[in-house]
C-alpha cells in the first residue's frame, strides 16, 4: 500500500518555553501523520504554534522543553527514528536536517546570509550532505536553479542575495531546500512576503516539484486559500492546540469546530456580496501566557457552554476527521 505510507509521525507533541513571566505552552498535544507524496497543511493565526511545531521537527528550538514523539521513517528501514530523543546539536539530526527533511522559511530577505553569493550558499548545503567535488556541486546548483525557474542560472550563481528580488530569493531558498532531494519539505509561510502573481508561481512550483520528486510537504500558513489550493489533509491550530483535523474537502465543506467554522465564514470569497458586513470572531487571540483553561477558544466562541472550562474531548466524525470540542458530546 504505497499510497498511505507514513513518513513522519508526530505523537502528543508538547513544546514549552520557560520564560520569566511563566511557562508558555506553545504547542500542547499535537498529533499528525505525514504521508509519502502528500501535502499536510497546518493553518492558524499568530501564536497558534504552527511554526514552533515545524521547527521542533527539525530540532531547531534547543532551548525549549519538548516532549512526545516525532517518528521519522528513513528510506528503506523499518525502524523509525524518534527525532525528539536526538541531541539537537548532534550528528544524527544534522544528517537528517537539510537532507531528508528540509525547510523553507517565511522571510526570503533574512534567511539567506548577505555576505556569501547564492552559489556558495547552495553548494554549502550540497557538500554538507553529498560527497561531491566542487565542480559537481556547482553543476548540481546550476541545475537546481534552472529547475526552480531562475533564468540565466550560471551567471546568477555569483550574485549576492541583495541583487535579487523577493521572489527570486524565495526560489533560491527552495533550490537550497531541494538540492538534496529531501523526502519531506517543511514550508513555513513560503509566500506571505510575496506579491500575488509571484505567490501563484511559487505555489505552482512547490506543487509540481512535489509530484515530480514524490515528496511530502508540510505547508504552514495563516491563509486558508493556500490550504485550499495545496493541502490534502489539514490541521487547524489555535493557541498551541489542535482544534480540528480533517481531509481538505471535508474541512471546507463540513467544518465541525466553532473556530474553523468562524474562520471559514470570516474570509472574503468570490461570491461574498460586496460591502456587506463580514462574519467576524469577537476579540483577538489572547497572549499565550494567559491562555484560558479548558478550551482555549472559549472566550471568543459563539457556542460557549459551562463545560468549556474543562479540557474538551476529541470527537471523531470520520476515519480521519476529529474536532476537539464539547459541542458534540451529550451530557
Amino acid at each position: 500500500m504505497p499510497d498511505s505510507q507514513p513518513i513522519l509521525e508526530v505523537l502528543d507533541l508538547h513544546v514549552h518555553f520557560k520564560m520569566l513571566a511563566g511557562v508558555v505552552r506553545a504547542v500542547d498535544g499535537v498529533d499528525f501523520t505525514v504521508e509519502r507524496g502528500r501535502c499536510l497543511g497546518i493553518v492558524g493565526e499568530s501564536g497558534c504554534g504552527k511554526s514552533v511545531t515545524a521547527r521542533s521537527i527539525l530540532r531547531l528550538l534547543p532551548s525549549s522543553e519538548t516532549t512526545g514523539q516525532i517518528l521519522y521513517h528513513p528510506n528503506g528501514s523499518d525502524q523509525p527514528i524518534d527525532l525528539v530523543s536526538l541531541d539537537a546539536k548532534g550528528d544524527a539530526i544534522r544528517a537528517i536536517r537539510g537532507k531528508d527533511i528540509a525547510m523553507i522559511f517565511q522571510e526570503p530577505m533574512t534567511s539567506l546570509t548577505p555576505v556569501y553569493t547564492i552559489g556558495e550558499q547552495i553548494m554549502e548545503s550540497i557538500r554538507q550532505h553529498q560527497d561531491l567535488s566542487e565542480e559537481e556541486a556547482r553543476d548540481l546548483a546550476i541545475s537546481m536553479l534552472n529547475k526552480v525557474g531562475i533564468p540565466d542560472a550560471e551567471r546568477r550563481l555569483g550574485d549576492y542575495p541583495h541583487q535579487m528580488s523577493g521572489g527570486m530569493r524565495q526560489r533560491v531558498m527552495i533550490a537550497i531546500a531541494l538540492c538534496c532531494e529531501p523526502r519531506v519539505l517543511i514550508a513555513d509561510e513560503p509566500t506571505t512576503a510575496l506579491d500575488v502573481t509571484i505567490q501563484a508561481q511559487i505555489l505552482r512550483l512547490i506543487r509540481s516539484l512535489q509530484q515530480d520528486l514524490d515528496m511530502s510537504v508540510i505547508m504552514i500558513t495563516h491563509d486558508l486559500a493556500v490550504i485550499a489550493q495545496l493541502a490534502d489533509f489539514v490541521i487547524v491550530m489555535y493557541l498551541g492546540q489542535m482544534a480540528e483535523k480533517a481531509p481538505v474537502v471535508e474541512l471546507f465543506q463540513d467544518p465541525k469546530h466553532p473556530y474553523t467554522q468562524a474562520l471559514l465564514r470570516s474570509i472574503v470569497r468570490p461570491d461574498t456580496p460586496p460591502r456587506e458586513q463580514l462574519h467576524s470572531i469577537s476579540g483577538s487571540v489572547p497572549d499565550p501566557r494567559n491562555a484560558p483553561s479548558g478550551c482555549r477558544f472559549r472566550n471568543r466562541c459563539p457556542s460557549v457552554h459551562d463545560r468549556c472550562v474543562e479540557d474538551p474531548p476529541v470527537v471523531e466524525f470520520g476515519p480521519q476527521h476529529t474536532a476537539t470540542c464539547w459541542l458534540y458530546v451529550d451530557d
Binding site: 499568530s46 502573481t197 505567490q199 501563484a200 506543487r207 470570516s266 474570509i267 470569497r269 467576524s280
Partner: protein, 346 residues
C-alpha cells in the same frame, strides 16, 4: 451623491532620483508615479491595487504631501474652498489635513511606543491648535466609535493587540472628522480573525460618518469587497480604472486579468489557475520601452514594445491602457490550465 468629486488627481508624477558615487551624481530616476490621474467622488471608496513597487503607496503619500509630488495637481474640494495640495502652503496644508487623514499599514510601527493611546489619538487635534481639554474630550468621544472602551485611553501601544492598535490608528485618523481618509493597507498586518472586524468597522464608519476612502491594498478580494471603483497600477502607471464590476468582471487589460487570476480561491474543489503570469515586475529604474507590461504580456506584439499606449476611455468610466483593449478576448477559456490537475484527496 456619488457624482460630486471630492478629490481630483491630475497628471500626478513622482520621480525619485537615483544617486551614485562620491559626488552623488544623479544617474537616473525611478518613476514611482508616472502621470496618474483619477477622481474620487464623495461617499465612495476607490481601491488602488498593484504589486509591490507599482507606486500605490507613493500615490498615497503624495496625496497627503508626505512626499513632494514633482508634477501634476491634486485638487481637494473642501467644504468652503478648493485646495491644490501639490502647491499648497504650510498654512493651507493645516486646513487640508483637517479634511484628509491617513491610516498606515503596520500598527506596530505607526504608533509611538512611549505615548499613551490618548496622546496618540489627540496628536492631530493638538496640531490643529485645539485646546488640551477639548482634545481630551474628543478623544474620549472617538474611542467608542472605533470599538475601544474609555479604559484604553491610558494604555500604551505594547499593551494592545494588533487589531486594537489598528483601531487606535483609525481613531487617530478620524478624530479631526475628515471627510476623506486614505487607508494604506490597513488590514494586511492583521490576523485573519481580526481582519474581518476591521473591514466591518471601516464599512460601518463610512456609512455613519459619510466618509470617502482611498483604499490601498494588494489583497484583491478585500479591495473588491470594499470598493466602488478600482484603479490598477503597474510600474508607476495606471493601467486600468473602472467600477468594481468593470474591473473584476469585464477587465480589458491583460495585467488586470493576470492579477485576478492569481487570487487563490479558498475552495479545495476549485484548484485550477487559468493564467499564471511568468517573470517578475521589471526594475522601475529601467522600465521596458513601450507598454511597461509588454515583457510579461502573453499577447504582446511588436507595437507594444515600440509605442506606449494611452489610457483610453472604453465607455462608462472604464479606462484601459492597452493598444488592443478592444480586440483581446480575456475570457477564461482561452487560457490553457497551467496549474496541473491535482490528485484527488485521500
Amino acid at each position: 451623491m456619488l457624482d460630486t468629486p471630492i478629490l481630483q488627481v491630475e497628471n500626478l508624477s513622482k520621480f525619485f532620483p537615483v544617486q551614485r558615487g562620491l559626488l552623488r551624481r544623479t544617474v537616473g530616476h525611478v518613476k514611482a508615479v508616472n502621470d496618474v490621474s483619477f477622481t474620487v467622488n464623495k461617499g465612495e471608496c476607490v481601491g488602488l491595487v498593484g504589486e509591490s513597487g507599482c507606486g500605490k503607496t507613493t500615490v498615497a503619500r503624495c496625496l497627503l504631501r508626505l512626499v513632494e509630488p514633482d508634477q501634476g495637481r491634486i485638487l481637494l474640494h473642501g467644504e468652503q474652498q478648493t485646495f491644490d495640495i501639490a502647491s499648497a502652503s504650510r498654512k493651507e496644508m493645516l486646513d487640508v489635513r483637517r479634511q484628509m487623514q491617513i491610516i498606515f499599514q503596520d500598527p506596530f510601527s505607526s504608533l509611538d511606543p512611549r505615548w499613551r493611546v490618548t496622546d496618540v489619538v489627540a496628536e492631530p487635534l493638538i496640531a490643529q491648535k485645539v485646546g488640551r481639554s477639548e482634545a481630551a474630550r474628543r478623544v474620549l468621544d472617538i474611542l467608542p466609535t472605533v470599538g475601544l472602551g474609555a479604559h484604553f485611553a491610558d494604555r500604551f501601544p505594547h499593551e494592545l493587540s494588533g487589531g486594537e492598535r489598528q483601531r487606535v490608528s483609525i481613531a487617530r485618523a478620524l478624530v479631526v472628522s475628515p471627510p476623506l481618509v486614505v487607508a494604506d493597507e490597513p488590514v494586511s498586518a492583521l490576523d485573519v480573525s481580526v481582519r474581518s472586524q476591521i473591514i466591518n468597522l471601516l464599512l460601518d464608519l463610512q456609512s455613519q460618518m459619510n466618509l470617502t476612502y482611498v483604499f490601498i491594498a494588494h489583497d484583491l478580494s478585500i479591495v473588491k469587497h470594499i470598493s466602488h471603483r478600482i484603479a490598477v497600477m503597474y510600474l508607476g502607471r495606471l493601467v486600468e480604472l473602472g467600477t468594481t464590476q468593470q474591473v473584476f468582471e469585464e477587465c480589458k487589460h491583460p495585467y488586470t486579468k493576470a492579477l485576478l487570476a492569481s487570487v487563490l480561491i479558498p475552495d479545495p474543489t476549485h484548484r485550477e489557475q487559468s493564467f499564471v503570469l511568468e517573470g517578475e515586475v521589471p526594475s522601475p529604474l529601467n522600465p521596458p520601452s513601450g507598454c511597461h507590461f509588454s515583457t510579461r504580456c502573453p499577447f504582446a506584439q511588436e507595437q507594444c514594445s515600440a509605442e506606449e499606449p494611452d489610457l483610453r476611455d472604453m465607455g462608462g468610466g472604464h479606462w484601459v491602457r492597452c493598444h488592443f483593449a478592444e480586440e483581446l478576448d480575456l475570457s477564461e477559456e482561452i487560457f490553457a490550465p497551467q496549474f496541473d490537475t491535482l490528485p484527488a484527496s485521500p
